[in-house]
Structure formats: structure tokens, C-alpha cells
Symmetry: C3
Amino acid sequence: MQRVHGANTSGHPVLQQYVPVRRLALKSFGRSLRVAAFATAPAPAPSGSALTNSGAIIDWHEQKLKHVVDSGDFNRAAVDVVFKEAFKMEKVERNTKESKVLSGYIMSTLFYEPSTRTRLSFESAMSRLGGTVLSTESAGEYSSAAKGETLEDTVRTVEGYADCIVIRHFQEGSAKRAAAVASVPILNAGDGPGQHPTQALLDLYTIRREIGRLDSIKVGMVGDLANGRTVRSLCMLLSMYDDIEIYFVAPDVVRMRDDVKQYLTARGVKWTEVSDLHEVAGRADVLYQTRIQKERFRDMDEYAAARGKYIIDEDLMRILKREARVMHPLPRVDEITTDVDSDPRAAYFRQARNGLYVRMALLKLCLADGYTP
Amino acid sequence: MQRVHGANTSGHPVLQQYVPVRRLALKSFGRSLRVAAFATAPAPAPSGSALTNSGAIIDWHEQKLKHVVDSGDFNRAAVDVVFKEAFKMEKVERNTKESKVLSGYIMSTLFYEPSTRTRLSFESAMSRLGGTVLSTESAGEYSSAAKGETLEDTVRTVEGYADCIVIRHFQEGSAKRAAAVASVPILNAGDGPGQHPTQALLDLYTIRREIGRLDSIKVGMVGDLANGRTVRSLCMLLSMYDDIEIYFVAPDVVRMRDDVKQYLTARGVKWTEVSDLHEVAGRADVLYQTRIQKERFRDMDEYAAARGKYIIDEDLMRILKREARVMHPLPRVDEITTDVDSDPRAAYFRQARNGLYVRMALLKLCLADGYTP
Amino acid sequence: MQRVHGANTSGHPVLQQYVPVRRLALKSFGRSLRVAAFATAPAPAPSGSALTNSGAIIDWHEQKLKHVVDSGDFNRAAVDVVFKEAFKMEKVERNTKESKVLSGYIMSTLFYEPSTRTRLSFESAMSRLGGTVLSTESAGEYSSAAKGETLEDTVRTVEGYADCIVIRHFQEGSAKRAAAVASVPILNAGDGPGQHPTQALLDLYTIRREIGRLDSIKVGMVGDLANGRTVRSLCMLLSMYDDIEIYFVAPDVVRMRDDVKQYLTARGVKWTEVSDLHEVAGRADVLYQTRIQKERFRDMDEYAAARGKYIIDEDLMRILKREARVMHPLPRVDEITTDVDSDPRAAYFRQARNGLYVRMALLKLCLADGYTP
């Protein structure tokens, strides 16, 4: 079944028009992408209020990436550019010219809520390219925010100290607000229930790297699909590709929400809700497991029931296809048992490392001079 | 009316004697300052206990700046040297020789109370000059202080790890205590109700940069003048210059204190208390607005009354002179409305950025070898 | 009395066998150590469960140091290699080839409990060798640990971002657990009541540097010997050397525990419990004072009594031998009076600085290519 880009079934304004693009197979990362395609490939249109992108579709006619605010801003061609760069980043070696491409640049992390993992990943990415980091582990607690300063004012101050700002905020839309006033690139490291575009991109990159393609993929999304920001974003990104099939496997209380389902339907992505994880395991190319987020539950009995329902363990791995992969955004609790870790199909630690490469790529595309797509 | 430096009207010991200095017009930053003048130009004498400086008048016969503890240690000539250096810092470009002048040097921030803005500014300054940063966001909570270690012991330990220490402490006089035992430069990033010399210097630098001179300036100080460390320090620094006029515009409960008024009077600085902000706006070269600090009020009604009284908004900007400027140490809450931000006379974000240049200058003057004034 | 290495008096498995080694006098740091000796010199065998090492005796046939988990892993020859390197580190100057030996390498600190001093020391060490630091001040509070992630998963994620991990954890055995799964070197910066090997090594290094030898030393251990991790580890390391005598001087409630006493006895180290500090001061080469740790006491009367009992002050210094030294792991409260600080025999601030050199040495031995012992 063929997707139709930009179909306007919801009555919302069309952000872009459908232009037939030559299929960018991306079979080999080595193949250079035609610049002409970049501007014409459309981004997915938002079909519901919760799924709006930042409105700033990335146009690779520009020399640099302006901001990384919303994964919905990345159309298929933009994703290709990022992934091509990320692939190169895997090969960057210590003390080479490539490892100094951001020498003299300063990145500031501005974390209004803590996220050690994401912060370290960004800081490592900057360091691996020779850049310098100014770090803020908990800007919310400490900074001028406590004295009543607006995010906008903070950004206008910090942009005096840094060449780009990585922002993590508890409030949806914060990164977009920051980008609206900033004169330096804003990289969204998660804004509450909103966007976490670098996570979405690294998930997609991991599929590309592990499975070898992005078209014709069958993905089982497992666990907390109602609250999981990562699965929602991944669905949206996957909808740009052809012949995608998604299976939702979730306890009743945390089923995938209607907005995403409608979004997928509007784009011709096949999706099914399945209650039997074993059935999905036998068919999927990717099992994307997520943690049942205790902090989202008020009723601890509901939590306990939801938590134990879909576990990936050695038994399940026997059913999983030989070329399939298990992914997880981490941290995990016990929804994947540790005996699975040594299975070569367990891709979650490689996935975490891919976050480094994707962030290196994005930082380079935002900052380094002389990028030619 | 001419100021008399070092006038001893308070019965306190005279720290320096008046020596007539050739006026250093500093019209152009490019003009080289005569070394001979540095040693003879006197610093302002303290006239009250709350206004004492650290006692270590900076003598530019020395090759390096020893410590930055108290803005009162900087006489007019020392200020000139710092500003000349700061002006050069505005031009430092990435990956040039100038941007590596502190390569191999380590700065440690030792913050006993959080101040993200000041910390990032110092860390950016060090990074922009090629230096390395060891960061402590909340030394008070975490460090050996909790186990009963004295500040002096902490400094003697940390000086083993770093080439200079930027200290922020809740207790007045802490930086001076640190400097007394340290074998590396101590830079005071604010010690409670005491000093915050880099803020005072960046405020003065901003006036110099925005207005083009430091003599014959009319400054309106607005807001919380009783508790505002910045306005108190700025008054003291301004008193070194000729033909200064200051208007104090404050709600009754937070009027400027007598010690500063006496200090100014003793130095021949004209000051007036004015209740009408509009009247001042028509005359001032600089409106220095400050936040009413909620945390200083016990009575929330008093706070509410004080807070709403003097707001700088578009209406007021119509009265302000064409070449005048609005400054604010930030963070602001609502004492300057955001519609003022786009007015070219709104200098507060440039002022924040000037903090970077002034701190770069001070770090270089403290650390780099071979400085010749 | 001669020590017998590896004596198996406890019924525990022998981790290594006794091989007679040529005495490595280490009189001069300049003398090169014979590689052949490294592999044959045994480490001290554990004689009780609380004193087990990590089981990974360091073998200097290897090019690099794999992990720094337990001071018990360092046999005499390994200690020699580290100290020879540390001594070289004292001479490393800014912007030399030696100061860039870890350029391009990234160290991540992963501190589950705060320790500003140890963290800054490690970060300074890495910086002094040209490396980059990713810092985590309080991983326990902020990171994925709060969401239920295991230490092992955290390590497997962070190793994607850094070339080595410095870990501080509240739980004994954590560093060993981390090392078991890590593909990058783990450096233990203290795991609860367990090990703090870099502190133990810097203590030993300080004795070597200050006294000039490690054999034939008389050490008075003073203060909280029951809870003091440092004195316990130092006892174990000292037991590798010949003709050691130890005096334990402690309030009754915090006397040295039996496990260490038995360990020393088994290795032929003479030890005595002495109640009179003055008597010990007249005989010892080293007085190792420790803080009475308030946080270990439930009864504050007991604490007060213990705290005031053994103070090192000017009076005591008159009894101390001319060539003796006073050491302290810091922070101190009042167990050494500040008037002692200016005495040249007060070695504690030099000891803190030695921590830098030892950590530089360990980082280089873990990371740098081309090490030849």
C-alpha cells in the first residue's frame, strides 16, 4: 500500500504540498544525495493538535541546520542527510582532522529537568568533535528561573556564552519558544510530553543500521504506548517510508492513542493492535520495547498488572526472526530480561551509542562551516 | 563640582593619598595608557564599614592581576586596563592565537550557592580563551563543607587542582578570606550581600561602550536600591569619574541606604532622590533598572506595592533621550516590559554579553604570562 | 620479622603464589624497574571477607592498566610502576607534549554520591593530561537509577560516551560490578564502606615522597579507625613492605577492627594499640590523623567524647620527630589545629596534591597507548 504524503484529511492547513520525489533508496550511505530532491521532499503533515511540528520544515538548500526542535521538521531527504553524516561519525577517530571539526565552538546544555543519559550523550558528541561544553544539570532548580525569569530571557542571555544550546524542559513547546528568540541553534533534548527529536532520529537510524533499510519494515511497538514519547515520534517518522506495518502491543490502560492511529491511517501506514506478543515476535523485523512508566500511574495495582504483561525474555527470542532486532530507548527495568543482552539481536546498547553518532551529526550540521549536502 | 579622591571624612584610616593624575580620557580604546599613571591613580576610599574594599589596591606595576575580590580595589587606571583588554576580547575569533591564550590553564568554579548565569559566563570566558573548566554547581550542599571543612582548607585543596578559583559564597567577606590563603588567583563571583566585582565592572563597561564616556554621565538607578548589590557597587565605581549625577528612584521601603549617599557626597558626586520615574527618564543618560527582590520581603503586600511602582515600558521609552540606554543586571521579572526589548536603547542583553568580555579580560590579566600594561 | 606473602591462614583460596622477588628498593624514582619482576611480585592475599580484593591482580606484562577497582589488586611491583609515573607527573608542564598525552580521550565521572574533592581531583588529572571530562555530580539523584536502571545498564550506556569511567557509589562492590561488564577502564572513586584505591595509593605515595622510603616505617594511625576506609586500606598496602610498625590510637568506640589486625598479623606486620598519642608522636615517622565521622554516631555524647580525645596541635608537634610527617586524608574539622599548618612537617595539603599526580598516573596507565613499563 502506497502512502500519500501531505494528505489533508483532518481539515487542518496543509503545511506542504505533495511533490513526487525520486525514491531515495539509501541502500548505501556512500551514495551522494541529490540536492535537488531535498527541497521537494515533503515533511509529514500534522493531523492533530498533539502532533504538530514546529512549522519550520528543514530546507537543505540552506548551508546549515538552523534548529533541531521537532522530528516532524525532518522530511525524508533531511533524514537522509543526517544519517549520512551520522554514518561518517561512526568512523571518526581520535586526534584526526574530523575529530576537531567543532574546535573552538561552545555548546551549553540547559537542562530544566535532569536527564543524565541524554546530557552525557550530547556532551560526548560535542567533545568527540573537538568542541567545548558548558554544563547545567538542573537549570530549573538553580537558575534565574527560580527568580521569575522567562525561558526567552534565559536563552537570550545564554546565547551570549555559547554557540548552540541544548535544552531540556518539562513544558511542551519550550524548545520551539527558545528557537523563536535564539540567534544560535537550539537543540531540543526533550520538552515534557512534547518532542525529543534526537531520540526519534537515533531510533530510526538504528533501524536503518541494523535492518539495512527503512522501507518495507514491520515494527512491533510494545509496552507503554500511551505515554511513550519515543514510540509516538517513531511512528510519525516511519510514516514517511513505504510499506510500513506497525503492531501495537500494550496493556489496556496504556494503549496507543487515537491521534497517532489517525495520523498513520491518513498516511497509508498499516497498523494493528495485537494482544499476543508471541504472535508479533514471529512477524516483526523490529520489536521496540518500552518501559511501563511507574510515574504515570496513580493506581499501583494497575501499574503492577501493566508492568508484568509483556516481557521480552529468552523464550520470546526463540520465536523472533533471525534477522530481527530488539530495541529499547532505555533505561529498562525488567521488561527485557538480562539473559537477552548477549543475543546479537539485542540492539539496545548499540542504539544508545547511535545516539552519539546522530547527535554528532546534528551538531556538525548546525555549527560547522562549509557543509555541502 | 570636582570630586576629591581619598577624602577622609569618616575618621577611617586613609588607604591611599590623593595624587593628581593626568585625566585618562579613554576616548578611544586604541590609545595606549601610560604605565606611569597606573600606580598613582588612587582607588576610592571606603567611608563606612559596609563599603570597605579588600585593602589590596591593584598596582599595575605588577605583571599580573593577583585577585579580583572587590570592585573597590580597582582604581581608575586599573579599570582602564581591564576595559582596554575587554574591548580586545570582543574581537577574539575562534581558532586564532588570541583564542588560545589560556590554553593549558584550569579554572575551577567553587559555587556555594547556585548562580547559573554567572557560572556559565565565567566558564564561557575561560573556554573562549582556550582554558579548561572544573565545575562545581553547588559546593555548599555537596562538598566537604557539609563535613565541617573551613573555606580556607577547601581553597588550599582546590588550588592544587586549578590555576585559578572562581568563588561564589553566601557569606560576605568569603572571597577575601579565600584570597588570604590562596596561592592562585581568586575571582569573586559574589559573596552574599558583599561584593560582586565582575558585575560592577561589566555594568561600568557597558556604560562606557554604550554611551562612549564615563565622565559627565547622568544615571537613574531604579528599583530595589536598598538590597541591590549591583547599584551600590556601581555608585562606588562611578564616583571615580568626573561630573557624575545620580538619581535614585525607589519605592520607600527599599530606598538607597545612607552609607552610599555619604560615600558619594564625600566624593563630590551629586545625587538626588526622585519619586517620579518619568522626570528622570527625560534627563538620564542611563536608566539602570533592578528587580524588586521578593526574597528580601517578609510582608507580601509591601512587595506587591514596591514591585508595581516603577515599570519601564514603551510609554516611558518615548520620554527617554534618543542616545540614552536602559540597563538591567538581569534576571528581570516584569519591571521592564518585553515590548521594550526591540528598542535599540534596550542594552541589557548586550550588557549580559559584556560580562563575558570583562571576565575574559580579568582571567587573562590574572593568568596569562607576559602581560605588559 | 619477615612477611610471608600469600600466606593462606584463613582457608580462603590462594589467589597467587609466593614467588621470591628481587627487592625493588625504589630509592630513586629514576631507576628503571625490571619488567620481569612485575608479573612475579604477588599481591597481598585477602584473609577475610571484608578485605577481599577484586580478584584481578594487576599483571604488568599487559600494556595497560585494565581497571582501578581495589588497592589490593596492586602488588608491590604495580605500586612501583604507578609511583614512578606519578613522580613524572609532578614535572608535567603546561603546553608540553607530556601535557597532551590524553588528548582526544574522554573521561566520565559517574558519582552516585557527591564528593567534590575527589571529583575535582580526577577531573583536574584528566585535564592536566589534555583529556576531556564529562561530569556527573549526583548520578544517583538524577539519572536513570531513579527509574530503576541497574548500575550495569548505566555503565554499558555510558561506556558508549567515554573512554573511561570514574565511579563513586554508596554500595560496596559497585566498582567491581561495573568493571565486570565494562569495555572501558573503571576507576573506583570510593564505593561506600568498601574501597577507595586512589586515596590509598596517594597516601602511600605521600609517605614515599615525604619520608623517602616505604620499608622500615613506623606509622601512628589516629582517630576513627573503625570507620575510616583510608586507614584500613593503608594498613593493607603497608603490609607489602618490610619492617613496618603500626600504632593504633583511637577512642574506644572507634578502635581498629579485628579483621585488619589479623590481616597484619598474618603478614608479620607489628601493630600495637596505644592510648597515649604523645607516646606515639615521639616514635612515629608518620602520624596519620583522621576525622571522627559524626555521621557514623548515633549517640552525640559518644561523638563529643571521641572527637576531643586526640588532637594534633603545636604542643604535640614539639614531641614529633624532626623528620616525621603529619598526614590527614581531609577534610579536617578540628583534629589538627590550624597553627600546625605552617609547620613543614604538616604534609596534608601536599598529600591532597599528590592525589592529582597519582590519578594522572593511573589515567595515563589506563588509557595512553604505547606504555612500556
